[in-house]
Every structure is written in C-alpha cells, then in structure tokens.
Symmetry: C2
Subunit: 434 residues, 2 copies
C-alpha cells in the first residue's frame, strides 16, 4: 500500500477563504496562451475564422459605374422632350469589356450591372420604353445619374473593408470576394491536446468490466475545443506511472513539432487520490516556495472558489520542443465542462483574437429558489425561457449529473457572497446557444 | 441583336398586389427539400450534427455504485461508536475491476469514482480520518448511503438520454460517450451545388477587365450553406448558351450521383435581361398554364413581396439521375444573402431536422426612423445594442451595399402594411450571431 493521502483534495468542500478567486485563476489561464500566428487560407475555408489583419480593398466597389436597371443607357439631355425615339447603337450585356462610347442622340441597350458607356449619364428602365431593339421609343425622361451606381459607391479603393479581429461569416466572405481577395490572413486555430488517462476509463463502444466507466471527458472536451475555435485532438492512454506518462506525452508533443501544440488539457487525476499520476507528473519537482518557476514541472495546482470545479491547475510543462501550456480540469464531467466554460474557452478565444471571447450574458428571473455555498461562485446548469425572461435550474447542484447538463442551454451564475436566491430574483445567465 | 425584353423583370419595383407573399414562397422552397437520410458518424465528427434517432442508454449511469469521495468504504453500522479504528483490508483505486467484498468490521481505502465493494454501504471521507493505510482511525460517523453515488442515479438502463432532433454539442457528445456510444446516427447534411454563371464575373484573386466584377455570391452562398448545416459546393462556369448550361449542370449532377445533390442554388440571371441563360434554361419548356408540371424544367419564377429580393424562383430540374430541387436567388449580393436567410436557410435546417430552423427573433426599439415600401416586407440590415435594447439600420435600403451588410449583426423586419416606423418604435429583429 502506498503513502497516505496528501493535504490536497478534490472534494467539493474546503475553506473558501483560502481558495483562489475565479477571476484570478481565469487570468492565470488566459496568460498561458499567446495570440496565435497568422496563416492564409482560401475563402472557401475561411468561414468561422478570425481575420488577422485589416482587409483593404485594392479597388473601388463597384469598380466602374454601372446600370442599376435593365434598360437603355442615354444622355439625360437627349430625353428633354419625351416621348422621343432614339436609335439603339449598341448592346451592353453585363460583362461586356469592350463597350463603345455612346454617341449623342443614341441609346445603348444595357443590362443590370453592365458598365455605363462613356458619354452616357443615366439609364432609362425598360418599363418606360417600348423595349425596341433597333430604335427605342422612350416615354419618360430621367435625370442625370438616375439608375446609375457610381464607381466606389459601396467601397472606395484603399478602404479597410474588414478590420483585423473580424469573425468571417458569409457576408464577410462575400465582401472579401467582391473586392477581389481570394485568400485571407486569419489567426491560426490553437491546437489542443486533450489527454484521457484514467485507468478506470474505457473508450466508448468498448465493453465495460465492473468498476470501469466509459470515457466521456475526452470526446466532450475535444468537441468543446473545436466549438471554441480551436483544434481539439484526443490522446487516450493509461499511464502505468509518472515516467511512462511523461514519455508518452513528450512523444506526442515531439510528433507534432511541425504544427506545435498550444495547450495540453487534462481532466481528472488531480485530486487527493493516491493514484494521481497526472498531478504527480506535472508537480513532482515543483517547489511550493516557487510556484512560478520554470524547471519543467511548473504546473500549480489550486483550489478555486467555485462550485462545481474546485480543483484546478495551470502552468507549463517542459516538453521536448519547449514549454507548453497545461491546464488541468477536474475529472467529473460536469465540473470539467463547466470549468472549460469558465477558464479555457475564453482563453482560447482571446488567443484567437475572437471579437467575443465570452458567452453572451443576459439577466433573467429565477423560476425557482436556489441555494449556493458561501464564499464560492456557483454555476448551475439551466434552461432559459427567452419569451418569459425566466431561467430554471436543471439537475440540481450535483456535479455528476451529465444527463441534466446535456439538457441545459445556459449557465446560471450565483456570486460568492450569495447563499440563497429567491424565486423571481434576477441572476446572470451565460447563453450556451446550441 | 436579340429579341426584346420579356414581361418579367427583376427591378425593385412592381405591383405589390400581384406579388407572392413571403410566407407562400417560403413554404414553396421548404416543400422542395425532403428530410435528409440518416448516417452514422463517430463522436469525434458529431459536433454540430442533428441526432437522427433517440439515443437510448444500454446501461445505467453510473454503471455501478461508486464513491463520491476519496476516503474509506465502510459499513455505516461499524461506525456507530466513533472514534473507532478499523483494519484497512483492501485498496480500491478507480478502475479496479476485481475488488473483494468488504468484511464486517473492516474498511477499504477507496478513491472517487471507484466501485463500492459488496458489503459496504457508505464512504467516510479522508478528512474525517487519520488517513491510515494499515489501520484507519475514523473520527466521525456516516449514514448508510452517504458519499455513495448509486448505480443509475444519472441515467437508467433503457432511458432515452438524447431525443431525435437534438443538436449535438460538447455536453451531448459527452453524454453519448458516457453511456458507451462511440458513433451516433445523425441526419445527413444536405448537399447544395452553388452555381456561379454570370459572364461578367471573375473569380476572386484574378485580375479584372473593365466591365467585369469579382464574383462574390458563390463563396458567400457556399459559406451560408455550410453555416446552415449543409455542404455548399461552388461550381463556377460561364455558359455560352442554354444547351451548354444544361449540359454542364447535368454533368456535375451525374458526377455526384453517389452522394446526390439535394439542391441547386443559383443567383442572378433571372431578371428581365436579354442574356438570362439560367432562367431560360430552367423555364424554356415550362408552360405558364401548368406551373407545377414536371417535364424537366419545372422552375417557377415569381416576384415576391419583399425588399430586397423580389425576383425569386423555385422548382425542380430534371437531371440525369432524377429531379433535383432548384432555388434561384436574385443576383445582387445583398438581395441574394437576405433571400437565403428568408427562404433557404430555414428550409435547409428543416430538412436537417434542426431543432431551431429559424434565426433567434427578438424585438428591439428602433434607433432611427425608417421608411418601407407599401405592400412589401422590408428586411433592413442592422446592428443591435442588446444592453440598450435598441437596433439601428446600417447602410440604408439600397440593396447593393455589401460593406454595410458585412457590418450588420441582425436583420430588421418591417411588415408589408407598414410604410414608416418612427424612432423608438419596436420592430422584429433576427439575430445573425457571428
């Protein structure tokens, strides 16, 4: 039998006054991740990416004056006395690149979007004419400039059309394409290695023996990383001991040195248990007196004043290609995902330059009373009724109820100094949107 | 010179009374698309997909009674007279599959998540003991069941943990994994062929000649399809004539017969212009008297009572492998994307079984007055201030201002019978979120 339990533990109790405030741990995690580098991707792969540099239009948009209507390009002065018949001297479909100039007293048949001929200053729409092809009878006059879209009316040459930090959706991709940009500089998606290491864990799809459970944190956290804009990659192995854990991790990091890992994310293995390989591996040479040292095992384990999600860790691991950021999350699936929401997701999105690193936050009235521990920030899973403006907790405070988590569409936040919130009171809500 | 203009046209005016109501055209587009088939994907690829069938847990969760604490598994009755010292007869780390039963009067050292030994009915947390490894001194009694998570407390065997139609995010993937499911049945993502066919269009990244513009609708609509949960694929070609257009489209459809195209999406080429190959190709054998016939060119072109986005079309094309749905959108980029939002996105998401086919809709106070044409539903681009509860139009009513569209985060909806909305009045807002 091994040595007795250490002082640290992962239970859901403890002295709140000695715990790290949520904001302090969030800042520590955010500080681990640096802004990601720039890479250039074709527009077809740009959706959901964050623009790394201002996008400047090299030319005006529209690039040339063009017709806003199907009709006839004319000189407005030639329509002073309507009705009037004008010879149709040319045909200007959209895309015609060699359109001749317009002679006085003539009209060119023109399509929407086609370049205005030199000499023309207005378009008379087909509905105001007899739609003639040799000669056109025009019934109503137009003013100079009428039905003409001027060059640069939408965008001028040299204009910043999309500032750095823009999230690229369909409209932004359309605008980039319209100004002629076929590939855009975007921030690299942070690469996150999600470790699944518990000896009790069996991959989903494999049969269970008594005492084993299916591993859920790995697929869940890898999906959460992807959802945040990163690239989650699951590495599943059961370490025999600290040396083998470190060797396996270092091999994985070395194999990815061409496109290095930005963050190693673990869950579980960090409470007081006697078999806590992850904690041992990341902390065994760490000095309590030097929590920030960089001797290769610089992960600080801490209790954070929140429920769920008290046992947290953050720091660096000295890998084969340099220091790599490490965040350790609690092992319980609900604690793990809630901790990811509070600490990791905003940090990843900040590293990505995302314009909205945090979840949308609203306030809603509580549908039923709830209690919360003194000195700890509670994050309850909830369902919001946007029409009624109310939010109801789902699944109670218990951190192991994964089925309730999967029904939640928001988190309810109860502050550290609040121990009871009556029904009808307003609380902060983070929207998890689908 | 070709024949004169036809009766139809794509200009942003016309008789509203003769136009098709927005809801009617939306229903026609929705009716084109059938619910997509089911395919099974591994959890690692399931994020963002819609579950096709109820997911039933094959076993309870937790699968066995386990410890909620690091501590000692005991019989509560043995702690009737605390303090008491008990021999530590076994060690039960999480994942141990061969734990022996607990003999009366003994304790097993147990870790969080480890299976409760037969005969034990409670766990005393390590903090209430001397943490001994040979013998443990227990200071406080526990009740039967204390610190034990019962089998099936989260999920019972046979329970529907995720109903069909669930959108799979990290929590839902975690739950599927936890109940042992490694791959899930999801709805196939609709495959959409986006055609870019204008003779004036040049691919982004290529140089422009006078009269040409960079093609933006294709990349924009392909991204919008992806954003809606479909698979957008851009097919860019300049048809010489109707025959060559049809041949190129049919070749593309035939080449995809293994994974057939669900929808052909075009933009432009459907107004009154003399060079409207797309419209000609889809409508040339169509009889006005039989708008719903299926002779292979069953696309009906119509004017819809909205601004922007009046010229619309929907129907079927008889391709080499059968009928394929066709939706034709207006060519102007802003009209095109707004029309996609109104008609195509909800239809694609319905076909996918998405639980929320429509954009989130809220109401907000208008920051400035706006005008809207009588008899047509106006969709203005806007920016919402969620804190103030206000929304401001961006870029005016002009449908060609792509830069303004790219700054918008919502659409404002002004009803058909409203021609003026004063500042401060409440309007419907569709949130485009990112």
């Amino acid at each position: 039998m091994r040595a007795g339990h250490g002082a640290g533990h992962g239970h859901d109790h403890g002295d709140p006054a000695a715990m790290r405030p949520v904001a302090e741990h969030a800042a520590a995690v955010a500080a681990l991740l640096h802004p990601t580098a720039t890479e250039t991707v074709p527009l077809a792969q740009a959706r959901g990416r964050v623009l790394a540099e201002d996008l400047v239009s090299p030319h005006p948009l529209p690039p040339f004056a063009n017709s806003a209507m199907d009709g006839y390009a004319v000189r407005a002065a030639d329509l002073a006395d309507v009705p009037v018949a004008l010879p149709v001297a040319a045909d200007v479909p959209a895309g015609r690149t060699d359109g001749p100039p317009l002679a006085a007293g003539t009209a060119h048949r023109i399509m929407t979007g086609a370049a205005m001929p030199d000499g023309a200053d207005a378009v008379v729409q087909v509905e105001w004419t007899d739609a003639g092809t040799e000669t056109v009878a025009v019934e109503r006059a137009v003013a100079a400039g009428q039905n003409v879209r001027g060059a640069g009316e939408d965008v001028t040459a040299g204009q910043v059309v999309l500032p750095a930090g823009t999230l690229l959706g369909p409209a932004q991709i359309g605008l980039a394409a319209a100004v002629g940009v076929g590939a855009v500089p975007v921030r690299r998606r942070p690469r996150v290695l999600v470790l699944s290491t518990g000896s009790e864990l069996v991959a989903p799809g494999e049969p269970l023996q008594h005492g084993q459970i299916h591993e859920s944190n790995g697929p869940m956290l890898a999906a959460a990383v992807d959802d945040a804009g990163g690239r989650g990659e699951l590495l599943r192995f059961v370490p025999d001991d600290v040396e083998q854990f470190t060797r396996t991790l270092d091999d994985a990091l070395a194999a990815r040195s061409d496109d290095p890992v930005d963050l190693v994310l673990t869950s579980g293995g960090v409470s007081a248990g006697a078999y806590e390989v992850v904690k041992d591996a990341f902390s065994r040479t760490r000095s309590e007196a030097e929590p920030d040292h960089r001797d290769g095992r610089g992960v600080a384990f801490t209790k954070v004043a929140m429920q769920p999600g008290m046992p947290q860790g953050s720091g660096h691991h000295r890998g084969p290609t340099g220091d790599v950021a490490v965040v350790t999350l609690p092992g319980n699936p609900v604690s793990s995902l809630v901790s990811f929401e509070v600490f990791v997701r905003p940090a990843l999105r900040r590293a990505l330059g995302h314009p909205q690193p945090d979840r949308p936050r609203v306030r809603a009235r509580l549908a039923e009373a709830l209690d919360s521990p003194a000195g700890r920030r509670q994050l309850r899973r909830g369902r919001i009724d946007a029409v009624a403006g109310t939010v109801a907790p789902v699944g109670g405070a218990g951190s192991h109820l994964l089925a309730a988590l999967a029904r939640a569409d928001c988190l309810l936040v109860v502050d550290e100094d609040t121990t009871h919130v009556p029904a009808g009171e307003t609380v902060e809500v983070w929207l998890l949107d689908g």
